[in-house]
């Protein structure tokens, strides 16, 4: 072995080996590159959302009117407060994460444990909130009629509020007249075993039209956004004509096919983007739990190095970063 040449004459020079131009460990660098590729995936989704929105720019749902609920405050109009709360929870858990990383640099096991625990709790609160948000969105609020062309007709009436005439939404259950119908849900037991249909809406189109005729203050609101940035409200005559000529199905809530708030694409992208993000948060929580147990077991204490905490920290912050963009493009803009 002693005859092996070990000197290349380039020690200390740029290509002499042992040179670390990025000054980052392999794991950290790869986490950064994974984040870049994941960021591109999310931008792909958000840009596709932008594409669909620009396609229907004059009829896209207004987010303030869609996400108006707050847990335990039923019937209170609270646009965006809950999403703002969720954003704050996620930023807060990002802070506890970075505090855990900082404590790791000081090899302080007790502090890392506490901060990791708080981060996991924050993540769970966020995922839970998102589940609640989905549930509210799927169940819907007022109900609407979908026309033959796939447009959504919503209902409302003008009410006096502080001396002004304000348009207030009216739910189908408040004016539709229930009649006796013989239409039953088609299940697997009724015909071919592989043919079935989804849950039928509470009312039929005829019941809604009859209810509409009986309440002469109810008006139809279309999807089209006018110059004032509000949805167009039709007159009584126009409303009835449109309902009778084009009304085809009753829509309650939202799923991948129909959406009582407007374009079905809005619901599709909502489920897909927040779902993909929620999946990231969920897997982040799982990874955080694994690291949390490793911290408790003293794995990194023995290693004298808490870099693993730093790496999952990068992932966790990235999830927060994505939410900042989702928040802006889904709820604010």
């Amino acid at each position: 072995m002693s005859t092996t040449v070990v000197n290349t004459g380039t020690e200390g020079k740029t290509w002499g080996g042992g040179n670390k131009p990025l000054n980052a460990s392999y794991g950290k660098m790869m986490m950064w590159f994974f984040i870049v590729s994941d960021a591109l995936t999310f931008s792909g989704f958000l840009a596709a959302y932008g594409f669909s929105r620009f396609k229907f720019i004059d009829s896209w749902p207004i987010a303030d009117e869609v996400f108006t609920h707050f847990p335990f405050l039923h019937g209170v109009d609270a646009p965006m407060y809950y999403v703002a709360f969720m954003t704050f929870v996620l930023i807060m858990s990002s802070v506890t994460m970075v505090l855990a990383v900082d404590a790791g640099h000081h090899l302080n096991k007790a502090k890392v444990t506490i901060y990791m625990f708080l981060t996991i709790i924050g993540g769970l609160i966020f995922v839970g909130s998102q589940a609640w948000e989905w549930n509210t969105f799927i169940k819907g609020d007022y109900g609407a009629i979908q026309t033959k062309g796939g447009n959504i007709l919503q209902f409302g009436k003008y009410v006096e509020k502080e001396g002004e005439q304000v348009f207030k939404r009216v739910a189908l259950r408040d004016f539709a007249i229930a009649e006796e119908t013989y239409r039953a849900e088609h299940g697997r037991k009724d015909g071919l075993w592989f043919v079935q249909e989804g849950t039928l809406p509470t009312y039929t189109v005829d019941e809604v039209i009859h209810g509409f005729e009986a309440h002469d203050n109810v008006l139809v609101r279309t999807q089209i956004i006018n110059e004032a940035g509000e949805k167009t409200v039709l007159s009584r005559g126009e409303s009835l004509k449109l309902l009778k000529e084009n009304g085809r199905t009753v829509v309650e809530g939202a799923n991948l096919h129909v959406n009582e708030y407007g374009s079905p694409l809005f619901a599709d992208f909502f489920f897909f983007i927040t779902g993909f993000h929620g999946f990231h948060v969920f897997s982040g929580v799982i990874i955080n739990i694994i690291i949390f147990f490793n911290v408790i077991l003293g794995t990194y204490e023995r290693r004298k190095n808490y870099e693993m905490v730093e790496k999952v920290g990068l992932y966790w912050h990235f999830v927060d970063l994505v939410w900042v963009f989702v928040f802006t493009f889904f709820y604010l803009v």
Partner: protein, 126 residues
């Protein structure tokens, strides 16, 4: 394991004594920005509803504030401020270039499809 942290934000305007203090400082800043965003989103001041460069002025403000937030999350929470210049550029410039390119193409195309619908080539008002 000596970890050097740069403790200045806002180009040296605010300087913190320790990394922990910087984290809380950045949290306060991010919270303020979020509060401003939500307040603007609820109030929707008429002044900001004017069209600027093809979009409402308010929407531009939202997008700028979002990028500001993203900057501080990346730079201070993800410690990008402490990484070498080459790693920083590799990650940030690659992503920014590709994302801007994609956004430009898709939004351009979306606007075009909207025009096709609007000019009456496709009937949608039924």
């Amino acid at each position: 394991m000596a970890h050097e942290h740069k403790l200045e934000i806002f180009r040296g305007l605010v300087k913190f004594k320790s990394n922990t203090q910087k984290i809380w400082g950045v949290l306060i800043f991010l919270t303020l920005v979020t509060i401003v965003e939500v307040a603007l989103g609820i109030l929707k001041p008429d002044v900001l509803m004017r069209q600027v460069l093809g979009m409402k002025a308010l929407n531009w403000i939202f997008i700028i504030l979002t990028i500001v937030k993203a900057y501080y999350i990346t730079w201070d929470f993800m410690h990008m401020r402490d990484e070498t210049k080459s790693l920083r550029r590799m990650v940030v410039w690659t992503a920014i270039f590709l994302i801007l390119y994609l956004i430009f193409i898709l939004l351009q195309e979306g606007g075009y499809v909207f025009d096709v619908y609007k000019e009456g080539y496709v009937k949608r008002d039924f």
